[in-house]
Structures are given as C-alpha cells and as structure tokens.
Amino acid sequence: MRYLPLTPEDRKEMLATIGAASIDDFYTDVPEAARLGGKIAGLPDHQGELAVERHMGALAAKNRTASEGPFFVGCGAYKHHVPATVDHIIQRSEFLTTYTPYQPEIAQGTLQTLFEFQSQVAALTAMEVANASMYDGSTACAEAAVMACRVTRRQKVVLSGGLHPHYAAATRTVCEAQGIEVVQLAPGIDAELALAEAVDDETACVIGQSPNVFGTVTDLTPVADAAHEKKALLVSVFTEAVSLGMTMPPGEMGADIAVGEGQSIGNPLNFGGPYVGLFACSKKLMRQMPGRLCGETVDADGNRGFVLTLSTREQHIRRDKATSNICTNAGLCTLAFTAHMTLLGEKGLGHLAQLNHEAACMLADALEGVSGVELLTPRFFNEFAFRIPGDAGDVLEKLDGLGVVGGVRASRLYPGKGLDDVIIAAATECTSEADIKAYADALVKVLA
C-alpha cells in the first residue's frame, strides 16, 4: 500500500512497545456482534495508480466537456477560462494540504489570502464587509435569509420569482426547519419588479437576484427602499460574479446583504461543485454574519498579521447559540477566486465583463434572426431566455445531435410552470463567433 508507511516489522515493534498482542486489542470495545470478521464483501482490493487512472479516465470519457464544441449552458454555473497560474497556486502543497488557520503563526499564507479575498468580495459587491466564503451561492442565500430574521427578529422572507430555483429551494429547506415563513413569488422573466410590493411589516427580508435566473438585470434600488421603509432588509443575489464588473452591484442598490456564487472567478465547472459562496453585508450587521472571518492584528513583535476573528459567533465556541453550524469555508475555491481576481484586477474584470456581454449580445442577435425565436429577457448581461415554437427539451436534444449544447430548458428548473417552450442560454468569453453561428444555423435546421 503506497500510502501506508508502516512496515510489518514496524507494526510488530510498535505493538510490543504498547504492550498489545495484536491490533484486535484496540477494538475490544466494539460490541462483539458488530465486529467484522474478514474484509467487507463486495468491494475490490487495492489497485495501482495505472489501474485507478484508467478506471476514472473511462468514466470521464463518458462525459461531454464544455470545451468540446459550442456550449451555452449557464443558470448558476458558467464556463469561463481559468488562467493556468491559478491552478498552480492552489496545488501548492502549503495551501493544498493545510488545515483551517487556527494556528495563525504558521498559517499566515492562508490568512492573508482570506483577508485579501474578503477585501476583494467587499469591493466587488460594493459592500462594507465580507466573510471568508460559504459553501456556495445557494447556501449563502439560505444563510442570508436566516441572518435577516435574526437581525430583524422577524420570521418571514420573500423570495423573488427570478431567484434561482435551487437557491430558493435551499433557502426554503433551512427556513422551514426554523419556523420561518417563506413567501415564494411566481417565476417570471422580470420578476424582480414585483418585489417591492411584496414587503410588509412582518417581512425580515426580500431576496432578489440580478442578473436573475432568466438573465434579467434589474436595479433593485426601489426594492431596497421599499424594504427599508418597512424596516426589512434587502438581500441581493447574483450567480454570475463576472457580471459585477459591469452591472450595478448590490452595494449600489442599497442591499443590506449581498450573496452570490463565486465559481465564475477562478473555478472550473466541476459538475456543480465545489464552488464558493460569496457573502457580504453592511458593517453594522458584521457581528451577525455566519461563517469564518479573518481580521488584521499584530503579533508580539508588533508586526502586522492576520487571524480568524469574531469566533464567538461560531459553533465551536457558541455551540447551540451559534449564528450557523457552518465550520468550513470553501478554502481552495476561495484561493482560486482571489488569485484569479488578483490577476484580473479592475481592468481585467471590466474587460472580461465586456467580452461576456458582447458575446451574449451577438448570440441574441443571431438567435433573434432565427425565425420563430422570441427573445424574452429585456435587459441582460451574458445570459437570456428565449421562446421557441415547440418543446424546449426536444429542441435541445436535436441541437445536441448537431453538436450544440444549447442551454437549459426552463422547465428543468421550473417543472409544470408553463415554461416548456423556454430556453435559457449563456455566452461567455469562451464563446466564439463560430460557436454562435453554429448555434443559429443548428437552430434554423431544428426549427425548420
């Protein structure tokens, strides 16, 4: 076993030092009836690297990658280019194989990058403070809802019909367990417009998304105003972090809490995870935040250093009174995010956002040129919904047959909601003009 350094002689010697007769001596506390005799049945024995790599490679080969051809799937996860440097950095032994930085004297590498991450997220969202990340955007959204209830001492949250339905579902799960009422507004391309009216005196927060799941960008300032008037909070959600290089960020719209998915910066698609949840808020709410926080301080010699801080909010100190049970962050994904963001800088981010937007504009132009296509999203960044005559599932399947992965059928996200003829398609900097042409050409064929 290549991963096990003990030799048979080591084991014998160590048992002798301990004074134990055999390894079985250590398992005598196990109820006899539950002790396993031999090996667990039904599982193979150990294998060498080559065999394992071949097994896993065979599985991998059964999947079609997003880089293989024209690819337009979005809805909360986006195909972006990740610089090679980012992957090199997160594979550094010292980042990859270390623990949560509870011993700051020998964890400044992790801690300083977390501090920089927090600063970047705060800047990106135009919020005052940010935490060191959550599992992903959807769980960050759920945590925001619960936090809003804690802050306002109210028990009702309102979810936009433009909120990614997985985010809404994850939020419902958490809220319902805690007796929080969840008001889910009806799905709609421009659903955020209905949010302001849905706030009442019991509302802890309204949760709106921009760009929303249909790609619509919306200035949520009126929602924030309406919420604040009722002493409720606005939680502003995004699933495409690149959009913030160009579109109005939560902080400029008056959001109290901003949450979002950070995958687009530095992280590959990974079939949905691990991703990195971004969580930011106003400074006055800081001590109510869930998750890990890194703060600046000094060491015994007076040198600047960083530590995890405000841990009295957390489960390992507060136990049943913690703000959340979360006790990890998205470590390496966070590092990938911050490293990629450092490479981009404001200039690169803005540039990247513009390329994404242009790709989507060109895609929209091309698809609008296809007879029968109706563009639905009124204002968008890099993703939009459109209607086709016929069933979206059928159309996408036929497109797939022509080598084009054309997007997400809205009914996969909203079954039984009358959206069977709607496709949501995204374009990014990875989308070439040839890809766009291929899509339009294929769609012409399919709809013919």
Partner: protein
C-alpha cells in the same frame, strides 16, 4: 517575513491577463450599470505568482510534516486524486447540461454511493451535503422529515447531545428546530449511561440523539448498541457524527450499531485535501427508516442508464427538499473514489488499523510524561489533560512550543470535558520514524512544561510570526483593507 497586500502593491490599471479587444457598441444592460469603480487591484502574472508562492511558504502543511490535529485527520493527500479531479471529463462539465452527456459523472456518483453504503452497512446515502456540518444538517432534517411523517414533529423536539460533542452538533440540532439536552460523560470518557437513562424517563419529546463514535475523546462508545436500542425504544432516531469513521473502516459498520444517519467527511476518512479550510463534502448515509426522507437530487440507475432525479414530484413525496444548488461536491467525489479504489477494501481496513496503532503508539510513549485523559487504549487519537503541567504553564504554551520544534500543534482545549485537553491524531500516513521524532520533541516540551519553564510562554520564536493578538482583532475588527488615510480618519 512581511508580504505586502495586493492592495498595497497592485493597481486598478494593471492586469495579469490578456484578453481580446472588445468590439464595442453593444449594450443590452438597459442602464443597470455599475456606477462607481470597483477598487480591485491587479498584478502582472509574475508579481501575482510570487505573492502567492511567498505567502504559501508561511503555511505549515501535511506535506511538510506531521500535523497532529486531533479530530481533524490530517492524512496524506495523494496527488493522483488531484490529477483525476482535473480530468476535463470531470472538471469541465456543467451541472445542467443534458443528462445523456454526463453519464460518466452520474455513474461515478453511483459508484461512490455504493462504496459508502457498503463500508457503512447502510441502505441509502444523500450525496449533496457540502461539508460535515452540512451532512449533520441533512441527517437531522431527514429525522425531522420522518417525525413529520409520523405527525410527531410538534411534540418530539428534544435531542440528546453529549457534552463532548463537536460544536456543530448542538448548532445543527437547533438549526433544525430542535432543542438540545446535554448528557454527561462518565469517568471512562464515554456516555454516562445513568445520565442517559434519566433523560429518557419521559421520552415522549425525544427526537433523537447525536453521538460521535468513535467519540471526540478518541474512544469507542462501548454501550453504543444499548444506546441505540434505548433511543429507538424511546421513539427517537440515532444520528451518528461520522467525523471519526476513519478509525473503524473495515472493522465495524455503523449500520450494525443501530445508526439511523451518519455523515462522512470525505476530507477526513477519504483524504480529499483540507485546503486551508475546505471545500469539504459530507455525504450522509441513512437507515431504512430514514431513506425515504433524503433530499433531492439523487442518482438512480435503470438498465445501465443513469438518471438524476432533481424533483420529487407528487403529493406523497417525503423528501425534505433540497440542500443546495446542483448535485454535490463532484470535485471531492472524484478524489474520494480515486482514494477508495487505490486502497481497496483491504487497504482501507489496513489504513484504519494503522491509524489506531499509530495513536496508541504515541499514547504509550507520551504517557511517560503527559497525563492521559482516560485509561486504556484509544482509537485513532490520543487525549491528554494538562494535569502534568506546572502552575502557570498551560496547554496553549505547549502547543505554541511545538511550532518551534517544527510541528503543527495538536488540537487544544477540545473536547471540553477534559481540562486543558490535548488531542493528538497522527493518522496512518506517518512512519514510525516520524512518530519517534515527534514523541521526542513533544516529550522534551512536556518535560519543560512539567518543570514550569517560563520560556514556553513566549513561543513560538521561530515561526513566520510571533503570537498574534487575537483580542485586538476581535475588539476592533478590521476585516478588509482600507486606504491608510481612511483608517486614520475613522
């Protein structure tokens, strides 16, 4: 070793990427544009690489030496796992692309599920929890779902949690709408059965118990079967915190102990990298009684075709809903399955045994000076109290002194049931030579602690930083970089 912040060295006009020139003239944003500058510094690629490489060298890591954090299981992270996780067929696929184009990914999830179910002896597993604590939440939500189905959710609200439990256990219970009733540990470091029984005299409000096994004292709960029976008789469910599953893989199946739900930390037992704090993954195995209450999504196979069930349709659905977007921590699944195939059934068992052997070896050598918290053999980690230290020297000082010896400190002050606890977990991936070196270092510190050597109070002396002022950090939190004059003005 000061490394400037990117905000101090970078600039908003600098970038470390080259992108094609935009065409210009396209705008479909409808005016919802960013008004103010973002304030994000950029660095050229060479500067960025150096920044992170230099910073990385301020970290301690498994790849540099023994990392004896009890309860954290800092074992070797094989690079093969990293390589496999980066195969484009896994890394470059989208969670919402057509299922016909991701059959290999779904098959992988199914294979991993089979391993997890087989190793635990449990009939079902929810794959989507994103970390251990998320798995706890998943398991407790399944219990909640079962109680709802029984119409008892209003009445059964009390969850028993031992005093020695991880903080996540009570936090999770409360988040699922339960109240926590703490049970004591006995003198042997296990659940105090008398106290437990007294809590069950009136059992009509019992939802269940959350128990770690092997427990956080590094001990196997000898009465676990009886505990399970008592809880089940009381009408409750048995949630087992699987953080320490690594000690018993191949020797015991939680399913044979009466467990109803247990999360598995893939980063502990199955070596996915800790990464400075994540990402984790916490698949949660479920008993027959809870299997129907698993969240969406899940994978089912039919005639060699894999289906991802994303919605439980119909009125009769028992699923408690959805834990998160998409389907779980795929990147961690690839690593964990790679690890399992590499070890096989034989290697996984050997790994558990070696972990336990290593811990007992350390315990037997260290107890010459240090005070074991409890008598007898331990499982995969050895627990000591601070009873042996001289007045004025505390666990923290010993921990910080270890840094100067070239080691990461052990887990300190946990579990709470032991005074000045030091919890040491070497894992199976340490050689005897490394353990011997470690013992010699720690024993020399322990001798100093016993003798009251004041120099320990100043440790570490040789680390990238001296002891950091955590009080200041908490008193006036600086959570982000600000312009220097902005700070001054505040």
């Amino acid at each position: 070793q000061r490394e400037d912040l990117i905000f101090e060295t970078g600039s908003t006009t600098k970038t470390g990427v080259d992108l094609p020139t935009p065409k210009g003239g396209m705008d479909r944003l409808g005016g919802v544009t960013r008004k103010k500058s973002v304030g994000l510094p950029g660095l050229s690629e060479p500067e960025a690489v150096r920044h992170y490489v230099r910073l990385s060298q301020q970290n301690y890591a498994i790849d540099l030496g023994l990392f004896p954090l009890g309860s954290c299981t800092m074992k070797h992270n094989p690079r093969l796992n990293e390589k496999v996780a980066r195969m484009p067929g896994f890394a470059d696929i989208h969670p919402l692309q057509p299922q016909s184009t991701v059959q290999g990914a779904l098959e992988l999830i199914d294979q991993l599920a089979t391993w997890l179910k087989t190793l635990t002896g449990m009939p079902a597993v929810a794959m989507s929890p994103k970390a251990g604590a998320h798995g706890e939440f998943c398991g407790m939500m399944a219990i909640r779902g079962a109680l709802m189905a029984r119409g008892e959710i209003e009445t059964r609200t009390r969850v028993l949690v031992p005093a020695s439990a991880h903080g996540t256990n009570p936090a999770t219970a409360v988040q699922c709408g339960f109240t926590v009733d703490e049970i004591k540990a006995d003198a042997r470091g296990r659940v105090d059965m008398e106290d437990l029984k007294s809590k069950l005299v009136d059992s009509s409000d019992i939802a269940g118990i959350m128990l770690t096994n092997p427990n956080t004292c590094g001990l196997f709960e000898t009465d676990i079967r009886e505990i399970a029976d008592l809880i089940h008789e009381a009408g409750g469910y048995f949630y087992c915190d699987g953080a320490n599953f690594n000690a018993i893989v191949g020797r015991v199946r939680p399913g044979d102990l009466g467990v109803d739900a247990m999360h598995i930390n893939l980063h502990k037992t199955f070596s996915t990298p800790h990464g400075g704090g994540g990402p984790g993954a916490g698949p949660t195995v479920l008993s027959e009684a809870l299997a129907d209450f698993a969240p969406v999504p899940f994978v089912v196979e039919e005639d060699g075709v894999y289906h991802l069930v994303e919605q439980r349709s119909g009125e009769g659905s028992d699923a408690f809903g959805r834990l998160c977007a998409f389907h779980g921590q795929m990147g961690m699944f690839t690593r964990a399955l790679t690890y399992m195939l590499s070890h096989g059934a034989d290697g996984l068992k050997q790994a558990a045994e070696d972990a336990v052997l290593n811990a007992n070896y350390l315990q037997s050598r260290l107890k010459k000076v240090m005070t074991p918290a409890f008598d007898g053999y331990c499982m995969h980690e050895a627990l000591f109290s601070d009873a042996f230290t001289a007045e004025g020297i505390e666990t923290l000082d010993i921990a910080k002194a270890m840094i100067d010896e070239g080691y990461h400190p052990m887990t300190m002050y946990f579990p709470l049931v032991v005074h000045g606890a030091m919890l040491i977990e070497p894992t199976e991936t340490e050689s005897k030579a490394e353990l011997d070196r470690f013992c010699e270092s720690l024993l020399s510190i322990a001798e100093k602690a016993k003798a009251g050597d004041e120099s320990l109070k100043g440790a570490p002396y040789l680390a990238p930083k001296r002891r950091l002022d955590e009080t200041q950090a908490a008193r006036k939190p600086e959570l982000r970089w600000s312009e220097p004059d902005k700070i001054a003005a505040e």
